[in-house]
């Protein structure tokens, strides 16, 4: 139900944001309802989520956001903010939601070279931020989902990982001061900002409220609105602008004058353990600038120009490439340092029995892979969303230890092959793993990507079933349950019909818990919470404190 234009709530919202920045038109609002992964949640076969918002508003400032939130509190409405809006939870998940599209808040307010931070609004994308940073010899961690994503959203509200996590820390870790409009409309200036001491840290005074602001997945728009934040930025030893040609051809960009203190090495290993060992050793030796890994099936999806090209390229390349690999970009202060790092890398390869994948270190692949490591761009989206229309990871997004990494990877690959053989999922040979390395090799982050056809309900559900199988296996074999995987699996159950079907497939102990918690309208929490010390109960209690009118659209997760 859209807000009536004659209603007081509508009139007040319109007065706040202006005529041009509010809509209640059903077709216009549908552009906020259609979301990636919508096929798992709403009516199967397309990506419209089940619920339309009451209105969409586009506030232009923190003050306007605050006033919108207060109107929602006053009139019993809910609200949800999003920036670039690229996943199902960006849409309303309950009735009575006002969507705040933060597109008008798109400024880089400050780049501080001495304290190495960038102060940004929600709609600044990684590519915009990175381009401005490189001009002054700095760089930022870019979410590997794509440089088209909001940098604030990843750090403050959502999740994701990037190649820069290796020495820049993971996304949420890069967050410094935050301006947060709480669910009741109060503005919390988190960290040093609240004391009037600038944006330099989000921790303190005393206990860090960052601890309730976000964790691995973030609150996904479900707890207030983040209107500004400072992100940590880092030294960039490369040129002030990355110049490349043929920019619009995926897979075939070429650098113009890339300096010789930057070089990409694509490495292969005989088994997962050796690869994990090599990753850790690279971290321990403190070489490398950014790094990550992608399996050959996924790499070919990214490198192919079109779907037809993928079919040919897979035939040509799949068997020519090793299965287990990782890629590291060296970017040093001097050529001499680069040569040293290369020698260290060679020693590590010698110790772990690895080698170089020469094929990928040559044209036509070298430049595009290097560019992807530096800027991310849209190659990831091209590899996954762009090919079939939908993708996710089974299991979700996983920060794991060295011992777990390979086992998790091989486990989901094996389970996936069955669905590929049935023709339900995209055939990447089962090898669609992608990952990065956090914090000098302390943590390995893995996503086992799966692509499916969102317009084909059987294909969508194949992913859900795979997810469920993987979850079951990971609980049993690895004492692990992915939050992201569970979110997706449980999201699919939001549709009452499918919920019934899926319940039949769920391990009985989980069914019980699901039913028990279904009353709380959060199947996600219901499944994950009991396995994780009922953390959701504590979160709910905190949320009750912060959101007395239950105004944030927070379910699920």
């Amino acid at each position: 139900m859209a807000l009536e234009e004659s209603s007081q709530a509508y009139r007040q919202l319109r007065e706040i944001v202006g005529e041009e920045n509010i809509t209640t038109d059903p077709v216009v609002m549908d552009t906020y309802v259609w979301q990636w992964l919508g096929d798992l949640v709403g009516e199967k076969g397309n990506c419209f989520m089940p619920l339309r918002p009451e209105a969409v508003v586009l506030p232009g400032s923190t003050r306007e956001v605050q006033r919108v939130v207060k109107v929602c509190n006053r009139f019993g409405l809910k609200f949800k903010a999003h920036s670039t809006g690229w996943i199902s939870y960006a849409a309303p998940l309950t009735e009575g939601v006002v969507i705040l599209d933060l597109r008008r808040m798109d400024r880089i307010l400050e780049i501080n070279t001495k304290d190495m931070y960038a102060l940004i609004e929600p709609y600044v994308t990684f590519s915009q931020l990175q381009a401005e940073l490189m001009k002054v010899g700095l760089n930022c961690e870019v979410n590997a989902a794509g440089s088209n994503c909001s940098a604030l959203a990843q750090a403050a509200a959502g999740f994701g990982a990037g190649y820069g996590n290796y020495h820049m820390g993971y996304g949420a870790g890069t967050l410094l001061g935050v301006e947060w409009v709480l669910p009741d409309g109060e503005v919390l200036k988190m960290g040093s900002l609240g004391s009037g001491c600038g944006w330099i840290t989000s921790d303190g005074p005393g206990p860090s409220l960052k601890g309730i602001m976000r964790g691995h997945m973030g609150t996904l728009g479900g707890c207030g609105v983040f209107t500004k934040c400072a992100l940590r930025v880092y030294h960039w030893p490369g040129p002030t602008e990355i110049v490349c040609e043929n920019e619009a051809m995926p897979g075939y960009e070429r650098f113009v004058n890339l300096p010789d203190n930057i070089a990409m090495y694509y490495l292969y290993f005989d088994d997962y353990e050796k690869r994990s060992e090599a990753i850790c050793k690279v971290g321990e030796e403190d070489i490398g600038y950014v790094m990550g890994f992608m399996q050959r099936g996924l790499a070919i999806l990214g490198l192919a120009d079109t779907n037809a090209h993928f079919v040919d390229l897979k035939e040509d390349l799949f068997d020519a490439l090793p299965s287990i690999s990782f890629v590291v970009l060296l970017a040093t202060h001097s050529r001499e340092e680069l040569e040293h790092q290369k020698r260290v890398l060679e020693k590590i390869l010698e110790e772990t029995g690895g080698g170089y994948i020469e094929l990928l270190q040559q044209e036509p692949f070298n430049d595009v892979i290097t560019l992807h490591l530096i800027k991310v761009g849209t190659l990831s989206a091209h590899a996954v969303c762009g090919r079939s229309g939908a993708f996710l990871c089974a299991p979700g997004s996983n920060a794991v230890t060295r011992r777990i990494a390979g086992r998790l990877e091989s486990l989901s690959i094996e389970l996936k092959k069955k669905y590929i053989e049935e023709g339900k999922l995209v055939d990447d040979g089962g090898e669609g793993t992608w990952g990065v390395v956090w914090d000098h090799g302390h943590t390995i982050y893995i996503e086992n990507l799966v692509e499916w056809d969102p317009a084909d309900p059987e294909s969508s559900m194949a992913h859900v079933r795979l997810q469920e199988e993987v979850n079951k296996e990971t609980i049993e074999k690895l004492s692990y349950l992915s939050s992201m995987g569970t979110f997706v699996e449980e999201s699919a159950k939001m549709n009452p019909e499918d919920m019934v079907k899926l319940k039949d497939m769920t391990p009985s102990d989980l069914i019980e818990k699901s039913e028990e918690m279904a009353a709380a309208h959060s199947p996600y929490d219901a499944k994950l919470g009991p396995l994780l010390r009922n953390y959701h109960v504590w979160l709910r209690r905190i949320r009750e404190q912060l959101d007395p009118n239950n105004s944030s659209d927070a379910s699920p997760p």
């Binding site: 601890g211 321990e284 403190d286 230890t401 504590w538």
Partner: protein, 487 residues
């Protein structure tokens, strides 16, 4: 105030040898070096494990008895363990097991009573080390230090103010037991260990509760173990010094070193602090006389593979930057070798704690500063000291880049004669006034102890309000260290 708890209840839980109510013991826990007025607890209990803590919390909740956890041994400086409302002090120093050290995943799990020296020894055997705060006192608990968000001296490994803390087991004020991060489940810690986890992934699905327990001074929950992230021991180290009167030049050099990730350890000390640390049992004042006003210390490290080659290349790059910053690099300053600075600052302080060596007592003022704020705050401090009759010579300064150079921990150490009542009162007044002036000049008191919370939360009332709401979730009866922070 001990509510309705009697000794027997405590003895039933912890055993008679671990419950103390003799005057001498109670007095020992009633005060510290801070300015908080002394207050005797009713009991001191030394629990042996989590289950005893849970049981103690249960009866404390029933009887609304304050509980004040303490892990480190004396001397305490910050007032955070002084039981402002009496009650029971839980001394966790007896829980001192190193539960595991894992080389492969570079992590160790420890109980609250474990101290730096013993942990470092255990790690060394595995070729690892824990990045530690500048020359901590011998009795300092590693867990305590982590929970207080004390910065360590290696900015490149300090990726977050949380570091090196990873996961923890916490007993909330409600008595519920929780494991943070990956340690939460599924399954028990044993199950997870068997599967290959090492409780080192800090992030949780939706929030990162561990951050609430850091900086909370024991007001949110009681931590029974933590995991800490460890790093490899370097194969070769090249420590270097730079010194002079020009703080800004040294800061510029430090900024570039850290920004470009050229070094491991890196910090600046003034002559007073360096003398206090380096004099060991010698004469601090005499050593200070010989030292320059500012000393920058840093160390370039090579690890296992081609360590010398790495050090030599990085040293060359470092020297080029030093030249640009007009800073001279030296192997020793005024007879103090860089090797020695590396050695003494990287381990706990044997014998007398360095902060007590110069005058017998020390009042710390520490805050997080922006780059531009450092020199300004030092100037503000010096002007203030001049105006208020504090001898500038007796105020040490320590500048530590944190979070890979994203902010700086600044510390002013006011050395004074603790036993001289008049001087102590003067220092107390100066401490409060100076902190207020510094706050107005951009000093962020991220860890407000002692007399500071009121000033700090008055400035950031919204955060105070939200923290009180969160506190009501984890400690609804406000039994955990009441009176601290904004609670």
């Amino acid at each position: 105030m001990s509510g309705g708890i009697d000794r027997k209840q405590l003895v039933d839980i912890a055993g008679k040898d671990n419950v103390f109510d003799d005057e001498e013991t109670l007095d020992a826990y009633s005060q510290d070096e801070s300015f908080l007025p002394p207050r005797r607890p009713s009991f001191v209990v030394k629990p042996k494990g989590r289950d005893e803590i849970v049981a103690l919390l249960k009866i404390a909740n029933e009887t609304k008895t304050p509980l004040v956890p303490v892990s480190s041994g004396p001397p305490h400086f910050r007032g955070d363990t002084v039981p402002e409302y009496g009650g029971i002090v839980l001394d966790l120093s007896g829980m001192s097991k190193i539960l595991f050290v894992d080389r492969e995943d570079r992590v160790a799990m420890i109980e609250p009573g474990v101290r730096f020296r013993e942990l470092q020894a255990a790690l060394r055997k595995e070729g690892m080390k824990l990045p530690i705060p500048l020359c901590p006192r011998e009795t300092k608990s590693v867990v305590g230090s982590c929970l207080e968000r004390e910065p360590h001296t290696i900015p490149k490994y300090h990726l977050d103010h949380c570091d090196p803390l990873s996961c923890a087991e916490v007993v909330f004020g409600t008595g519920d037991v929780f494991c943070t991060g990956e340690a939460a489940g599924p399954g028990t810690i044993e199950d997870k260990q068997k599967a290959g986890w090492r409780q080192k992934i800090r992030v949780e699905p939706q929030t990162e509760l561990i951050r609430l327990f850091q900086g909370s001074q024991g007001t949110m929950g009681i931590v029974t173990w933590v995991t800490v992230r460890c790093e490899v021991m370097p194969g070769t180290q090249k420590p270097l010094l730079a010194a002079g009167d020009d703080l800004e030049a040294l800061l510029e050099f430090l900024y570039r070193l850290v920004r470009m990730r050229l070094c491991d350890e890196a910090f600046i000390l003034d002559g007073a602090d360096m003398a206090a640390i380096a004099a060991e049992d010698g004469d601090v004042d005499a050593l200070q006389d010989t030292l320059p006003r500012w000393i920058l210390f840093f160390c370039i490290s090579g690890y296992r593979i081609l360590p010398e080659e790495r050090v030599s290349i990085l040293e060359k790059e470092t020297r080029e930057i030093a030249k640009l910053c007009n800073v001279g690099l030296q192997d020793a300053v005024a007879g103090l070798p860089a090797e020695k600075v590396l050695d003494i600052t990287g381990q706990p302080c044997a014998d007398t704690y360095w902060k007590l060596r110069k005058r017998g007592a020390c009042q710390d003022i520490y805050f997080i500063s922006s780059f531009d704020g450092i020199a300004r705050c030092v100037e503000v401090m010096r002007e203030f000291a001049g105006r208020n009759g504090l001898p500038v010579r007796d105020i040490g300064v320590y500048v530590q880049p944190v979070c890979q150079g994203h902010g700086y921990h600044c510390e002013f150490n006011i050395f004074h004669k603790g036993e001289d009542h008049a001087e102590r009162e003067r220092v107390k007044d100066a401490y409060e006034s100076l902190c207020r002036v510094l706050l107005n000049n951009g000093a962020f008191f991220s860890r407000p102890y002692d007399l500071l919370p009121e000033m700090v939360y008055e400035r950031d009332a919204v955060a105070g309000g939200v923290l009180r709401k969160v506190k009501s979730v984890f400690d609804p009866n406000n039994i955990l260290n009441p009176g601290k922070l904004c609670f």
